[in-house]
Each structure stands twice: as C-alpha cells, then as structure tokens.
C-alpha cells in the first residue's frame, strides 16, 4: 500500500486543485463547477466504500446504490416528518450531527441483514443477488407514495450545521471535501490494520485463510456493513447537495456506475476510486452538454476500459 512518488505528487496536486475549486470557478465565471465538485466528492466517498468490498475483500457487490439511497432517504424522511414532531425532536431531525449518523446506521443495520443473506452465495450468484436486493429497495421507494414515489422527495433545506449557512454552496462543497478526506484516511487506516490484512487474505485465497483457522464470514459481513455505512454517509451528503432524494439514486444503473468508477480508478487502490468517480462525474457533465444521448458514448467507453485498461487510472499513474 505504498504510493509511488508520482502518485503522491498527483494526490497532493488533486487535493490542492479541489481546495481551490471555488476560486477557480469564480475566476472563470462558472459557479456551477462548485456543485460539480461537490458531486464528485460525494460519489468518490461512495466509490471508495465500494472499493473496500470489491477491491479489498473481493466481493463485487452490484447493489451498492441501495445504501446510498437509504442514507439519502433517511435524511429526507426525517426532515419530512420534522414538523410533526414535538420539541426537541423537531429540531434534532434537521440537525446534521443527529441525522447524518443515522444515515450511516440505518443502511449499516439493513446491510447486516441483507449481507448475511447475500454472503451465503459467492461469485456470480453474489453479483446477481446483491443486484436483486437493491432493486427490491428501489421498488419499495417507488411504491412509497407518502415520500413522493417515483417523483422523489424534496428536502426543504439542508441539514443544519452550526456556523454554515444552508444556502452557501461553497461552504457545503468544503463539507463534502472534508468528509471525503476523512473517509479516505479512515479507509486507508483500515486497509493497513489487522482487519484489512484479513480482508486482503480473503480476497487472495479464501481457502488458505480457512486452513490457517480463520472463519471468513464475520469479516466479510463486517466489510459489507462498514462499506454500506460509508455509502450511507455519501447518500446523506447527496440529498443535501441537491435537496432532493429520488429512487433513481437506488436504481441498478447507479450501482453499475459505482462499480465502473471503482474499476476505472483502479480496483483495490482506494485513492483510485476518487479519480474514477471524478472522471465519471465530469464525463457525464461533458457528454450531457454535448448530446442528450450521452449514454451512447459512455457505453462503448466502458467496454473499452474493461477490455483495454485493466489497471485503471491509479495503476497507470503508478507506472511499473
């Protein structure tokens, strides 16, 4: 897990660029770039959490969007009911410090149940079953007319963070960026820990791990739950960013895109997920500007990436 000098340089440069994004956006007269930057940070958090599963533990989940969506809806639904609650709950239900942890815990708790089921299978069945369960949550939110059904749920104002004006997009960008940095540092720490070493071993050779006396299941489940919780945080940020949660966030295409981000960035490389996410977000924005049918370009790009560029962006940076 040692970064090469070139990789460290690119990392520092990227974070410096991100930190300066609001000024750059102001200078070129494109304030919308700030929102794009926030979106990239949020998706990077989600992709990095998925990389913990796919890249580190060797569990290719095709249902990660479910946790993103559940995190978003947790924030949205609590805010929706805030006015019906008596004090002090009505205040708490819109406070970031109270609601965001719940947006982590709710997906994590559900992931404990769903994960326990999915981990009874492996390989291709695991891909199919994670996809199917995520799609189950998608249908659930489409059917919940109280929360907007397939029209989605609007968040009237962002979760309250002391000292930050709810309408201040630049301040919110820095919130997202801080969250991203903290998540990446946490995940890097976990990767190097005893727990992370075990996950690595499970990915490389599960049979060997069992023959040295390790039962893989609890570790896989823990990784599943942890990654769902972090994706839930990304969901909480996402709903705040756009003040809107919709079932699209749980749709299977979102799960697919998250997988693409991880692989595009470089499977198992942690930092790579960030670059993969940023690349996808920017690609979306650029292609969507150019043609309404941007997916007709994105599809072949995906195929080409899989067939030709296996090591991803981060691996390409590493040289070797």
């Amino acid at each position: 897990m040692r970064e090469s000098p070139r990789q460290i340089f690119v990392l520092v440069a990227s974070f410096a660029l991100l930190a300066a994004l609001p000024w750059i956006a102001g200078a070129v007269g494109r304030p919308d770039l700030v929102t794009l930057g926030s979106q990239a940070c949020v998706m990077a958090i989600a992709a990095a959490s998925l990389d913990l599963l796919m890249g580190r533990t060797g569990l290719p989940s095709f249902g990660h969007a479910a946790w993103l969506g559940l995190g978003a809806y947790t924030v949205g639904i609590l805010a929706f009911h805030a006015r019906d609650l008596g004090p002090p709950w009505d205040q708490w239900a819109v406070q970031a410090w109270a609601v965001w942890p719940l947006a982590v815990l709710v997906p994590a708790a559900l992931a404990a149940v769903i994960g326990a089921l999915c981990l009874r299978t492996s390989g291709i069945s695991f891909i199919m079953i994670t996809l199917a369960f995520a799609q189950m949550f998608f249908f659930l939110f489409v059917a919940l007319k109280t929360y907007g059904g397939d029209d989605g749920l609007t968040l009237r104002r962002r979760s309250t963070i002391p000292g930050i004006a709810p309408r201040d997009d630049v301040a919110f960008f820095y919130v997202c960026l801080t969250a991203l940095v903290l998540v990446l540092l946490l995940l890097r720490r976990v990767a190097a820990s005893r727990f992370g070493t075990v996950l690595d071993g499970i990915r490389q050779n599960e049979r060997r791990m069992m023959a040295i006396g390790l039962s893989p299941f609890p570790y896989k489940l823990a990784a599943f739950v942890l990654s769902a919780g972090i994706a839930g945080l990304a969901g909480a940020l996402h709903v705040n960013l756009f003040r809107f949660a919709s079932p699209d966030l749980l749709h299977w295409t979102m799960s697919g895109e998250l997988m693409v981000m991880v692989v595009l960035g470089g499977l198992g490389s942690l930092w790579g997920a960030m670059f993969g996410a940023a690349a996808m977000v920017v690609l979306h924005a650029v292609l969507a500007q150019w043609t309404e049918h941007w997916q007709i370009v994105l599809g072949p790009i995906l195929v080409a990436v899989v067939l030709l560029a296996r090591r991803g962006l981060w691996g390409a940076l590493g040289g070797k």
Binding site: M54, T121, S125, M128, F133, A143, W252, M259, W294, V306
Partner: protein, 304 residues
C-alpha cells in the same frame, strides 16, 4: 374462483416468458461461463423489431420473424465482436462490459424509435378469448404464448438430453473437454449457443410485445427478475431455470393479483393499492431470500 384460475394462467404465462429468458442466460453461463447483462437488451431488441415490423407490414408473423432474426443476428454479432473476448475474464469484467453494452443499446433504441412506446396488439386471428372451462373466458393470445413456451421447453429438453453437445453440457464439461470432443470448431459452437440464447430472448420479447408497451428499459426489468429466477433455480441448470421461472411467475402474478385487494380490507383503498403494489414487487425478492436461507445454491444446483 374464476379469478384465481385466470391469475394462475397469467402466472403460468409470465413463468413461461421468464423461462425463455432464464434458459438462454443460464445456458450461456453454463457453457461459456459468461454472465451477460445485455441479455435483457436482446429481449428489448426482439420486442422492438417485432412491433416495428408488425406495424409496417400489418403481419404478425412477419413481425415475429423480424424480432427473432434481429435478436439472433445482433446477438451473434455481439458475441463475435465483444463477448468472445470476455470468456476468459472474471465475472466483474463481464458484468461491467455488458453493462456498457446495455447503456449503448438502450440509447441506440431510443434514438431510432424515440421515447414513445410502440404499441402493436395481437393479430386478429389470436385476439379474443375462449372459454377454457364453462364461464371462464381467457385470451387466446396468452394461451398461445403458454403453448409456445412449453413447446420450447420440450425442445430444449430434447436438445440437452438427446444430443452429444447436450450431454457434454449436462455433465458440466469444461472448456478443454468440449474442445476434445468437438475439435477446434469450439468457437463456432459458442457463437451458435449464444445465438440460441439470443433467439430465445428475442422470442420472449416479440411475444410479450403485444401484451405491454414496448419501451426502453423493458429489458432490464425482466433481466433482474430473470436473475432472481436463476438464483432460485440454481446457476447453470435448465431444470432449475424452469422450476424457478414457474415459481417466480406464479408468486409475482398472484401477489400482484390478490395482495392489494386483501390489504383493502384493513386499509383505505388508495393506500392499500400503493402498499400492495410495493409489497408485491418485493415478493419475488423475499421468495429468493427464503430459498437462499434454505438452499444457498438454489433448488437444482448444476453439477452438485
């Protein structure tokens, strides 16, 4: 009672459709070890080609032929150009590349046919209803679908149990063993198997078209239900695909048919309908969870 019979037949009809889809997917997986997400796109292509040709020519039969050949030809082209390179890759690569194919197909179809659904009803000679038992009319077209599906199932059964290739497949032959038995024309065999799977998907699409709106996104809806079928039935097993398809078809249709009405007994009508719809679309996933708890490898695991 009448309603129940009707819903059972609807469930059978949906199950037959799911079987056509699942059979192709599981056959391709069993022989080539490939998981093809774009299987749903072939279904969509079959449906579009059939609906479009029917509307152009006014002939259902020509439409059906167009749907079948479009799906089979495009399927084999897809295999030859892209998927062939994925056989030796891991499942993750297969999933991602075929995910890209889906995005492309959906957008291409939207550009050619627009976002408005195509509607082409069943032909006059298959319209109307017959009384299956006195007092219970049932649409002829749906009966025709059921008959076609059962015929295909029988055909597949013969193919798998009577031919040499079928035997090898049933025995869970590896790539090398297949090469040994069939010589170097293995690439041709793979393309043919893939074409057969595509043909079945196209058949499912072309037959379903007249029952619902032909639109972009229809492929993924049925694809995910097909995954549920395969997980329940057991990966790589045609018998499992049949059992899983019937089970899922029935459960889905019956919950959709009866759950909202049951809920109305305890809830206000509008809420009951919404909740009932939501719960019934979750029903097959819950079924899958139960089966997995009981049998992690599905009902009929291949080569157990």
């Amino acid at each position: 009672m009448t309603l129940l019979l009707e819903q059972l037949l609807n469930g059978l009809q949906f199950g037959v459709m799911l079987f056509l889809m699942a059979a192709g997917l599981t056959l391709v997986f069993g022989i080539m070890g490939l998981i093809n997400l774009a299987h749903g796109s072939l279904y969509m292509i079959g449906a579009y080609a059939a609906a479009w040709a029917t509307l152009q020519t006014g002939s259902f039969v020509l439409g059906l032929l167009a749907g079948l050949s479009a799906a089979a030809v495009l399927g084999m082209a897809l295999e030859a150009v892209i998927l062939r390179r994925l056989y030796a890759r891991d499942h993750l690569d297969q999933v991602l590349a075929t995910f890209g194919v889906i995005l492309f197909c959906n957008e291409a179809v939207a550009m050619i046919f627009g976002r408005q659904p195509l509607m082409a009803g069943p032909p006059p000679w298959l319209s109307g209803a017959v009384e299956i038992v006195p007092g219970v009319p049932y649409p002829v077209y749906r009966l025709a679908i059921i008959a076609t599906g059962l015929l295909v199932a029988a055909g597949l059964y013969v193919l798998i149990s009577r031919t040499r290739i079928g035997m090898l497949v049933r025995a869970g032959a590896t790539h090398r063993e297949l090469v040994g038995a069939l010589g170097v024309r293995i690439g041709l065999l793979y393309t043919a198997v893939f074409g057969l799977g595509a043909l079945l998907a196209g058949l499912a699409g072309a037959l379903t078209g007249p029952l619902l709106a032909v639109q972009v996104g229809m492929g993924e809806r049925i694809l995910i239900t097909t995954f549920v079928v395969i997980v329940i039935g057991g990966l790589g097993s045609i018998r499992g695909a049949l059992a899983g398809a019937m089970l899922v078809g029935m459960v889905d249709t019956l919950t959709r048919g009866f759950l909202p009405a049951t809920l109305r007994a305890v809830l206000p009508a509008s809420e009951a309908d919404a909740l009932g719809a939501g719960l019934s679309s979750m029903a097959v996933f819950i079924l899958m969870a139960i089966v997995l708890l009981w049998r992690p490898r599905g009902l009929f695991p291949a080569h157990a």
